[in-house]
Symmetry: C2
Subunit: 443 residues, 2 copies
């Protein structure tokens, strides 16, 4: 079937109309959030999320829907963490903490020691083993609030979480506390993966809420010798078989040339993974739904992928990339959305100048929706590996209004009610439109 | 004091830094929301809001802080409304309704009648008195979801609320139900003012939640004769003395030339008025706080105004404008923020081409914050009347990302937790920067 010839402006408007008037995507996200809360890879919830998105894609009557086997690490948090500031003057004060992903647990009685507060690895080095040995290192460098780009602020603070415990252990620390990577002062401890060095010591590591960090830091100024106790019971378990979920519309002219749009299906276990990144998965599915609703038969194969295990080891990304290579597929473009599903501000198209100039001609089509096309920020951890077999692949992505994203990210605060339907669907439509134009004109 | 000469780019960056690193504004908004919930004009809560903002302004050590007497209408909702769909097949079904501001109440036993559902005044006219007499008219035209501009969608539906009851009464309707002006399907009945014709009949009028509207409409298709019952106990009481609250930094060179930045302090009684428009008031105050923190001594007088009674009769706006006229003040610019306090997308500067061209030169200063300067959308109900004595006054305003605004607007859903500190403070800084440049370069 397909539509009769329509100009691009009309088609883009139709895509936004279709997205804003539709409710399926929002309802799918609600289901995912409510029924697969805590779906970090390896969990039973992740398996339900695989089945659910597989079913949603199947219900769209696409040309094919399938799953790709992915063996994933399986880390479980166990019982809720406990933590206490043990102050001589103030007594015992509970603070909210959350174990870091992949971290080892404390003994069953927990871990108790004095605190060494630092802002950086340089400071750690200056203090040296003498001051750190046998203590808990507390990384307390806040996210920088001064700039517009909250992702840059995150990037400037995240090494405390990813490398902090390993660094602290080098100087004999026996535990590690990391200030939550939140742009707000609140009581939500955030989480996220930490990476020990393979042959290095592994010490228990937790994030502490920003309010807890402020309190602890203030108390340490009064009483540098105060003690801190925390208890975790997380476990690293045997690997588990999981899946990427893929749905595609086959290209009518170039079935072996693929445009992929994807997001990660796994989400940190403390929250619902609404913005990070159930929403992005649902947007990828919605791109195909919009194509189907509008009767668009693409020239190239358009594929929506729910990648498993972005948060821990990117195993799903590796599997997808190696399958693509094995099957000799040429990937024209890889679109990844992993910055939340707030109102889209930009579409990132990262490629050489010649191809970017071509894409930049589409800019006027997005102006009625307040969206600009920019060069930086396309791709991501899930689609970038595809370039090993498709080196010319254009990296694309959605850049939403990210001012509030880091209040939610990797915490129990990342819930469905934080997602607005119109905001998310503006992103779905923008993605669909960019993919439509990419398919129509090539790259 | 004042700063040493700094270039504009540095000053704008300092303003954003100051806003994003500050917490006073966000905490003031939290206080206002928690302690003056329901502050529609004439209420005790509105009086507390006057005292509070007066105190916050006084604490800033401005050159002057004062109140302007404003006599306001006093409408009270009374006991919580009740409404039932009375279906022969489905029984009694409760639906959430909310009386419209200024509307008269039902009898103490409520009002029961059949329903006539319409989408427009034209449809009402076609049905005529014969079909409408003695019934409840149900206006059920949804906000258009298809476009980017949610304010345009609101504008396309709001006459059902403002004029619907008066129109329905002309054909003998005895009550009026209006679909909530929400962009979402949910259970929050919205509210807002309705205007009866002076000598026309006044019939009880309520808004019904969007979910309730969908349900009622579906049931009416099956059972057109179903009955509807609702009960309200709102009252129009004697007028009350209230106040605008004003704080100013006096101009060092042109004390009689004023740049005003304002918002309305009253808010609908069902919610906290966080986005509409406690946030805008707090942003206006924050502009002066930023000036003080940075030691800026303005050339012109900069004034923050909390206008009373925007929602019902704009009495505060009238008082402010007539005082300005009486005092022979020249207003250079009037900045109004009344579209919520989400991330700013544009600064509206509505003036003649010559002056707009001058202002447009400042565009590069706002680009690092994703903000464009546009011509349409400046001013608003509170500052526009000042033009009667300052006809050349430039109308300015903040245009935020408004995709989610109408989920909150005029409902119990407009609460503090819907406001993000970084989003709101980006608006505070953008406003401060535009006012700074206006003051520095004139207009």
């Amino acid at each position: 079937m397909g539509l009769k010839a329509q100009d691009d402006k009309t088609m883009v408007a139709l895509m936004f109309e279709t997205a804003w008037n539709g409710r399926e995507a929002y309802e799918d996200l609600q289901w995912l959030c409510e029924n697969t809360k805590g779906r970090i890879s390896g969990t039973a919830q992740a398996a339900v999320a695989v089945d659910f998105t597989n079913q949603v894609l199947s219900d769209l009557s696409l040309d094919s829907v399938w799953r790709q086997e992915v063996w994933v690490k399986h880390w479980e948090r166990g019982a809720a963490e406990q933590a206490l500031i043990l102050s001589k003057s103030k007594g015992e004060i509970k603070v909210p903490v959350s174990a870091l992903g992949l971290s080892v647990s404390t003994d069953k009685d927990g871990l108790k020691a004095q605190i060494v507060e630092v802002q950086s690895f340089e400071e750690l080095k200056l203090l040296g083993r003498e001051k750190i040995q046998g203590k808990i290192v507390f990384f307390n460098r806040p996210m920088n609030q001064s700039g517009f780009d909250t992702f840059a602020a995150y990037g400037g603070a995240v090494n405390q979480r990813t490398q902090g415990p390993a660094e602290a252990a080098k100087y004999g620390a026996i535990g590690c506390l990391v200030r939550s990577l939140s742009s707000e002062l609140d009581d939500y401890p955030h989480t996220g993966v930490t990476r020990y060095e393979e042959d290095g010591p592994k010490i228990p590591a937790v994030m502490i809420s920003t309010n807890g960090s402020e309190l602890l830091s203030a108390l340490l100024k009064e009483e540098p010798e105060l003690m801190f106790w925390f208890k975790t019971s997380c476990e690293n378990l045997p690997e588990v078989l999981s899946y990427n979920v893929v749905g595609e519309l086959q290209g009518s002219e170039f079935p072996d040339e693929v445009v992929v749009v994807g997001s990660h299906l796994d989400a940190w276990d403390t929250g619902e993974g609404a913005h990070d990144n159930g929403g992005g998965c649902i947007q990828a599915i919605e791109v195909l739904r919009i194509f189907k609703k509008l009767g668009i038969v693409p020239r190239h194969t358009i594929r929506a992928v729910m990648f498993m295990d972005e948060e821990i080891a990117q195993r799903g990304a590796q599997v997808y990339a190696s399958e693509a290579e094995k099957n000799g597929e040429r990937h024209l473009a890889g679109f990844e959305s992993d910055r939340g599903v707030m109102t889209p501000r930009s579409l990132a198209v990262s490629t050489d100048q010649a191809r970017f100039s071509k894409v930049a001609l589409w800019q006027p089509l997005f102006e009625p929706y307040g969206i600009s096309i920019v060069k930086r920020g396309g791709g991501g951890a899930d689609v970038n590996p595809i370039r090993s077999s498709s080196p010319d692949m254009v990296l694309m992505g959605l850049i939403p209004d990210f001012q509030r994203y880091f209040r939610y990210h990797h915490s129990a605060n990342d819930t469905f009610d934080k997602v607005d339907r119109r905001e998310m669907q503006a992103g779905s439509a923008a993605t669909a439109a960019l993919i439509y134009l990419t398919d129509k004109y090539g790259l």
